[in-house]
């Protein structure tokens, strides 16, 4: 008679094995695992995953991102007028897809919520076989999805995300950002603020209470204090507060003569509108004209604030009124298809799709580590921001930064911002070690 004997060691071993099997993400059991790397395309097409806010407060920005992606796919596949592919310095893409495969795409809705964004990215990777995920309109979401893509083993080409952390302390080898960050905003904006408002100023910050807001506040404080400005107070406001009047009234008698609104989207529209209603734009403090600064502008959002943006300084990644060849080609292509000019969100996402496709073509593979190496240190021009480099150390694009001002006499509802200075790239560059974080190794998903 055989004896079934359970030993303590045996039980521990089999429990550990069962635990590992159960804990392994489903991604490892998907059919993609059989290939050389995750979701290696085997047919005539390759699938991109566009993860943008289709519902929620940033739905309009997400819709513009999606329009840009659709345009980019058309151009990569050789349809339409070619847009910025005609002006792009790299000529690897020939208008016949990427590596001989036609690009198709799937979309996901981030809802501007980290968990929803991760779920939709996961779905596109596991179910739809997306080789790359791109898009988004929030730093919180970008950092969450970047982490997921790193763990899964696909490339993440970030959309509109401005927090330092995306390519700073939360950077990942599989993640790449074309958009600028708060450090660059601070470096670009400070000299313009000094020129217009002098170096003897007292600033009061209202800051959205999440990763991007903290990052923005930190950068602006750092650069304005270097100018000689003092900071009266930095007050955190809840995201989506709606009515900011209770945070604005203390500014009136605080002795501050500059209000810095570290808000984006709906918060920016509301806080700026209300600050103007409280007469801050026309106020005199310490014998000086009171000033309001909105460090990160979005033309789509500025439209929501209407006339209140007039004369107010900020920065932006790109603006459709730029006169370089690349920008003009993009505005023409986008405007012809949709009837209005593209936003900065549309521009950065279009660039990301093109840059990814180009890197795959140059690398001759879709393998994340191969594509990543092709992007690292890649220098290019013709995409609307002048000579640009994807820095190898942190996967951050370095390029000129635009300082803008709300236009006094707009000629149309799209014409709300004017570019007051194109800050050269050298002025906004910083050592990669400044923002901390580790890229770690690439993950090819095997």
């Amino acid at each position: 008679m055989s004896e079934f004997k359970i030993t303590r060691r045996g039980l521990l071993k089999s429990s550990a094995a069962a635990g590992v099997a159960l804990a392994a993400p489903t991604i490892f059991s998907s059919k993609a695992f059989a290939a050389g790397y995750l979701n290696e395309p085997t047919g005539k097409t390759v699938t991109f995953g566009f993860n943008v806010p289709q519902t929620g407060a940033y739905a309009d920005e997400g819709a513009d991102e999606l329009r840009a992606y659709q345009l980019a796919v058309e151009h990569i596949n050789g349809e339409g007028d070619g847009g910025m592919l005609n002006t792009f310095s790299s000529k690897a893409l020939k208008g016949n897809g990427v590596n001989g495969k036609k690009v198709v795409y799937v979309t996901g809705d981030t809802q501007t919520k980290s968990d929803a964004a991760r779920a939709s990215a996961k779905r596109m990777i596991e179910k739809d076989g997306a080789i790359m995920i791109t898009g988004g309109s929030s730093s919180g979401v970008a950092i969450a999805v970047q982490g997921l893509c790193q763990d899964a083993g696909v490339i993440f080409m970030a959309g509109l995300t401005h927090s330092n952390d995306t390519t700073g302390k939360d950077k990942r080898a599989n993640g790449f950002r074309h958009f600028f960050n708060t450090e660059m905003t601070g470096a670009a904006l400070a000299p313009v603020l000094k020129k217009n408002f002098g170096s003897d100023r007292v600033a009061y910050h209202l800051t959205a209470d999440y990763t991007w807001g903290w990052s923005q506040e930190g950068s602006i404080k750092k650069y304005t204090e270097e100018l000689g400005w003092k900071t009266a107070a930095a007050v955190r406001t809840p995201l989506g507060a709606g009515d900011f009047s209770q945070y604005i009234t203390p500014v009136l008698n605080s002795g501050a003569d500059v209000l810095v609104l570290n808000h984006y989207g709906r918060d920016m529209v509301n806080s700026l509108t209300q600050a103007v209603q409280f007469g801050l734009r026309d106020k005199q403090v310490n014998g000086k004209d009171f000033a309001i600064v909105v460090p990160l502008y979005s033309r789509l959002m500025a439209q929501g604030a209407g006339e209140n943006v007039k004369g107010i300084f900020g920065s932006t990644n790109w603006h459709w009124s730029l006169q370089d060849e690349g920008s003009q080609a993009f505005v023409k292509s986008f405007g012809k298809k949709y009837g209005f000019p593209p936003s900065q969100a549309a521009h950065t996402t279009y660039c990301q799709a093109i840059l990814y496709a180009d890197a795959c073509q140059r690398a001759g593979t879709f393998r994340p580590s191969g594509v990543g190496k092709a992007l690292e240190g890649f220098k290019f021009d013709g995409l609307g921001n002048g000579p640009t480099e994807y820095r190898a150390e942190d996967h951050q694009c370095f390029k000129d930064v635009l300082v803008v001002k709300g236009k006094e006499n707009p000629t149309s509802k799209f014409d709300v911002l004017e570019v007051v200075e194109v800050t050269p790239r050298a002025q906004v560059e910083y050592p990669a070690s400044l923002l901390g974080g580790e890229l770690g190794p690439y993950n090819d998903g095997k």
């Binding site: 739905a59 309009d60 509108t273 209603q277 000019p341």
Partner: protein, 342 residues
């Protein structure tokens, strides 16, 4: 001292909005016994009445300027609103006053929406548990939000106050402070006056009209009023419509303070429920008093001096007050015995 005065003023307009929404919620709860989670959506629909009126007044005559093109090669369009083309200066004034003018549209529209909502959906849920009422009205709120978003988009749409009300009122001078120390936007003060006028009108209507008397009697004892041969259901339908109008007007007039977007109702809804609970379920006076009280306390909690002692207090003050009030006075500040207790 001037900072305190400013925060009191701040609390008044916010409190006015809370009070108007909470008043409607309480009326509906007191008469129909329905917990209406779609009430915030009614506030939002009222705000979008202002957006719609401005959009209609702003329908533009488009002429093509053949000498100019857009950056993407299309011919340049020159746009001018028809009201300005047709009526000249009067048209410009009409556009400027689009928010107050939209009250004229908001009243009938919100009345129709309220009555349609009650007859078409809510009445089927009178005898159902509160949980089901909450689910169905919450669902309705989401549907209304999404409809508005599909037409108007997700971004806030600015609705400026008339130029004449865009300035500031210097309250500091009135109470002996230096000029410019306690200034307050004129439109916010107008909103406060408007909300008190609407609240007074609602109270007068319920207090001094026969219709109001029947409604109050119905709130106290629906069955007996029905036995007297009065069609109380029909009157309650009208009361629902009236509550919708109150919420809608609160939204219409709030648009210059908060650029409307499809989600604005939800932000106010949760706070307004807290206001109703703090004021006392079913108590109209309690809802109004709690609305202003919480509005002012929320403003005070945002003062830097207060936040230095209790960081983050501005974000939880309303809920903290609700907890304290419910512990000390379980029926709320002015709650009636027997409401929501069976």
């Amino acid at each position: 001292m001037d900072a305190i005065l400013l925060q009191i003023l701040n609390g008044l307009d916010k409190g006015g909005a809370y009070a108007l929404i909470a008043l409607g919620l309480t009326i509906i709860f007191g008469t129909l016994g329905v917990v209406n989670f779609a009430h915030g959506a009614l506030f939002m629909l009222g705000a979008f009445c202002a957006v719609a009126v401005k959009a209609v007044l702003n329908i533009q005559m488009v002429t093509i300027d053949p000498t100019k093109t857009t950056p993407w090669g299309a011919p340049m369009e020159i746009r001018q609103p028809y009201v300005e083309v047709w009526f000249g200066d009067f048209g410009t004034t009409l556009l400027d006053f689009s928010v107050p003018v939209s009250i004229l549209l908001a009243i009938p529209i919100m009345l129709i929406i309220g009555i349609a909502m009650e007859r078409g959906l809510i009445r089927y849920f009178y005898k159902r548990p509160h949980a089901e009422q909450i689910l169905v009205t919450f669902g309705l709120a989401i549907v209304l939000q999404e409809i508005v978003k599909s037409y108007f988009g997700a971004n806030p749409i600015p609705q400026p106050a008339p130029d004449v009300a865009n300035g500031m009122i210097d309250f500091g001078i009135l109470v002996g402070f230096e000029a410019g120390n306690v200034v307050y936007p004129a439109w916010r003060f107008i909103y406060f006056l408007f909300s008190t006028a609407v609240i007074a009108a609602v109270f007068a209507f319920l207090q001094f009209t026969t219709f109001g008397m029947v409604v109050r009697a119905g709130m106290a004892d629906r069955e007996t009023v029905g036995l007297l041969g009065i069609d109380i259901d029909r009157r309650f339908t009208i009361v629902f419509g009236m509550a919708a109008v109150v919420a809608g007007l609160a939204g219409t007039m709030y648009t210059p303070i908060l650029s409307p977007d499809y989600h604005m109702g939800m932000d106010f809804l949760v706070l307004s429920f807290v206001v109703v609970v703090v004021g006392g379920m079913g108590s109209l006076g309690g809802a109004v008093a709690a609305g202003f009280l919480l509005g002012i306390l929320q403003s005070f909690a945002s003062m830097n001096e207060v936040k230095a002692i209790l960081p983050g207090i501005d974000q939880i003050i309303i809920y903290l007050i609700a907890v304290v009030v419910l512990l000390v006075r379980p029926r709320g500040l002015m709650g009636r015995k027997g409401v929501m207790e069976h």
